[in-house]
Symmetry: D2
Subunit: 343 residues, 4 copies
């Protein structure tokens, strides 16, 4: 009944590659959203969409989409086109959700942030994991002090494919981990370094390692690869009181909290006396809401439009991720030297 | 019957911490070896050994062990004492097996190599994994060309504890992975960098990441930590034809060979045409001999003494690992800058 | 292009509980099918469907669906209603796909088989697993003799919920395993027994074990439960040459072929000499097509209509499963006594 | 220091097959025990033992062992010889630990119980799992009411080999599960049935399923097999409040407690209203003591001798298991018919 009372929002989706159809499916299914039109350059992709949603318009020209009367637009095209399309959409007064990374250039990301501000429109970055209930759990656990002092974080995001042609693996996969890190730690890194190699496509790194240094001595390591036999999506957060593993590939036990740690003895006069005290306690797997993160993200986008709110992953969040990616890219080209970042 | 004919070798073990008792157990059980004497500074450790092996002598003075008539000595003491003890043993004409890393200083490692050469005695580094049947399989698979061109290797060796007091986690855990890398690739790295942090004991890194660059563009990344909730011992080797995962924690499926890969199309005129071709084939888990690596290592040591052979992991191999560790340590202190290594 | 040439088939789906929406989604997405109308007694379920497929008619009266001009009907209602609805649909000349089990009574199943025969219409039982590529692999492997002589099969299908109110766990879950067994073995059991208990709903067994005896000494054991903390969908097939595990919960390694076995020595004069010879060989995980089984099933149904073919899981297959279920039910009530089945 | 004060007990071990060497290792290592003599019919097994424990006597005649001045005897020979050896040992006034099953005949087991009583000697059955900390946890959890009402238990104990020649798989493997069931439930079954087949050795079942019915409607199912590609040692206990899985193959997470369940609504006027309420809560993995169960068992045996106590797994417990096995064997031969057991 409640759903009947909320205002319906007409939505257009630009891009029908990997994410576009998922966005279309969600906007079609969410009450209060009206999937109105979808665009892509490829006719076969549009035919596919038309087959699934007979009432939805399709077009090869995204400007036609922008002029079709939609109020909100989701952009899921190759990164290099984000800026142009996002700018055009904001110029026409649309609220926009842009897939990650927001742009491939921080100056352009800043321009979008400013433009959205001027136009009074919602600009949201598609940082899906910030809408993942498991990541929310992590954030609350850390913020509530249950982990103790955060020591370090290790993130791995690897599998075979999908290779991108306009960006390397750092720009493709690391945005997820960087947005998660910023979200759960509530702070920005002061230094980033990256190392990697390009094996399949010359000049396009397909394997990379990032090291981010945060205030308070927190270190975070991110491994990303398009060239690994196994799909691994795993984040380990080690604190002084507890340790947590978040494994996104696990169907049920996504989060495991380990009551494990090690303490220094208060004093030790001699080396013989020296003993670290280990704690090997219970492991707890909290029940995590199994809602689809992308659905929660799309609902959040619609709510921000409806009630004039700032999205959790707003343009500024998107810009922060792009700035870190730029520094990582710089380090990658400099042989892994650390790049300081000022905020 | 054959066992009756081989010459019995009297063995002494110095050090009864973590590895010493394992060496003692093996030398006690292997036909053709005679566990004669064990030394340690701690009386309770010696009592423990005496309880297990009533016929074996124990002493708190390792020089007494050296003078007890043993022909071979295994040294499993803290790293900082390796050089002194190894030197004393070689000086007294003993064949020696020294736990990894060989020493904490490459000049001293070189001195041991030279001394063993002068004395005509076996100097073996305890690189256990070079005697692991799964690692042998990896080496043969790569050498036989079945993996194609090696692209990169990712190694992870983490768990909670055991913290060392005289060396950091790089010196403690990375020797395993470095010796494996050198053994399976059959070459040395030209550059190494390392990043890490010290959380529990000030100044002693307990978390670290190494990146090694080998000839031919091969990159190897090693993650080591004493501060992780899970025990992970996993090496991924990615080649142009196949990919392999070696998981030492798996009781049965230690090696998995993935017939997976990605190929560039021979040509592509337009971006639209561009298509990488992915291969998702069968996975094969070869049957691996389940013999205990340490037992194989001890038998190899005895055979080298008996038949005057050079050990697989000889002093030179031990020295190579120490040199790489020194460069990694240098990088760790330099903020992760890459260190070139000349061979 | 090819898809354009095939005849479009108008489909109706009766029932929007657990399976109905999955059938609707597939018939909406498959080229050559036209999801025309959906019925359910519950208005909220119809609203949900209407929200997802704005162009599809909905009705609370399944007879309206039958009179709506559809050519094919999928029935996914509670089992007790299958017969009435299937009969009504066949009477009106519809081709029908009926969810498993076909009916709750073998006489009625026989009547449907006869009626479909008379009317010249397709009657297909929704034995989804017969369209599962992993099950196909199993069947081919056995049929090709690669497993050797089949010894026994163990099947486990358990998790928490979903409790049914009109049938017990044997009728709810075991049809999957029984249809798989008949399909991969290509024969019928000669005897079935069952044991179980009813814990949550008085009189409705929620835990049960079935034992099926097939010709040639093959034994198959099936464990089904609505009351287990873990979701397990696992079938082990042991043969004289190889052993296979099919784990449907595994995202990637669904099938594992173990080159394991045990052989009797040709002769042994004394007990001392007696030695069974074990074979512990490689494990192979074949690449299995990841197509959705329900999609393949729906396409098969449409093809059978279009080209006048007999479905793989035809009415006779559905009847066989119902007859085995009836005997299992009889045994369940008789304290587990074996029930002979004549074919 | 404490260890110095306890009385040393001289122990002999009869049988050096699979379990004997494990017993020898433990009695050699435990303070307060003195592994004095070992016997076996096979000279090569004795040579092996003599190599490991140079100070220990070996003999091919178990009567020599009995006359060697030992106070306690552990019997780890084929089941068919247990009675003769156990009787001879008790007759000579020895305390005895007999591997499971106690005997292959309940009348003989009863005779041993009576004889031990007459002689005032310890008679202990080697039900190792009753000394397993994970099983203790299970027992305490159930006894403490945390699981609620126990509904049913599923136990699986399968792998490839080791085939026995004098007993079938029920007598070989099921004693473990039966002793666990009796221990954690604290009651005896009133009915047992069994089904199985003999594939490799004619007449010796290598695959079997047991169903045990306990008071209060508790059902327990046990699957045992020597002919399975995977090693599975898993027990699921389902209660009205919680569910527990005990997986003995897991190196760390041996016990998982699932806060899962299903409740009937207090009332429901119509079928439409009917809704079972599911509970999907946290999963907890308690830290379990990693002590070796066999070491705890051997220490318990010595303590019972030293302090004149009745063992946890005394002769009566061994007899109960033998009686259940006899009824299971009867059912196995009767085509799976349930056998009532009176206590």
């Amino acid at each position: 009944m409640y759903d009947k009372l909320i205002r319906n929002i007409k939505v257009g989706v630009i891009g029908c590659g990997y994410w576009g159809p998922k966005l279309a499916r969600n906007f079609n299914a969410i009450p209060g959203a009206d999937l109105h039109i979808v665009s892509d350059l490829r006719k076969d992709r549009l035919d596919h969409i038309a087959g699934l949603y007979p009432g939805v318009r399709v077009t090869r020209d995204y400007r036609e989409l922008l002029d079709s009367g939609v109020e909100a637009v989701a952009i899921a095209t190759p990164v290099s086109t984000h800026f142009e399309m996002a700018k055009a959409a904001l110029d026409r007064g649309k609220h926009i959700l842009v897939e990650k990374p927001l742009t491939d250039d921080s100056a352009q990301a800043q321009e979008l942030v400013d433009l959205a501000q001027d136009k009074g429109r919602v600009l949201m970055a598609g940082h899906t994991f910030e809408y993942n209930p498991a990541v929310d759990f992590l954030r609350d656990f850390i913020a509530g002090g249950k982990l103790g002092q955060v020591y370090y974080i290790n993130a791995t995001r690897v599998n075979l494919g999908i290779f991108q042609q306009d960006i390397n693996v750092v720009w493709d996969l690391a945005p997820h981990d960087i947005s998660i890190l910023l979200y759960i730690l509530g702070m920005e890194p002061t230094n980033v370094s990256a190392r990697g190699s390009a094996y399949v496509q010359p000049g396009i790194h397909d394997v990379a390692y990032l090291t981010l240094r945060f205030p308070g001595g927190i270190m975070a390591d991110v491994r990303v690869s398009w060239l690994d036999p196994c799909k691994i999506r795993r984040i380990t957060v080690v604190g002084s009181l507890k340790m947590i593993v978040y494994d996104d590939v696990e169907p049920v036990e996504k989060i495991k909290i380990y009551d494990k740690g090690v303490d220094m003895p208060p004093y030790s006069d001699t080396l013989e006396e020296f003993r670290l005290s280990y704690r090997y306690g219970d492991i707890t797997t909290p029940a995590i809401d199994s809602a689809e993160p992308l659905s929660l993200e799309c609902r959040h986008f619609l709510d921000c439009i409806r009630y004039d709110r700032t999205p959790r992953s707003d343009g500024a969040a998107g810009l922060r991720v792009v700035r870190i990616l730029e520094h990582a890219q710089q380090s990658l080209l400099n042989g892994g030297e650390g790049e300081a970042i000022s905020w």
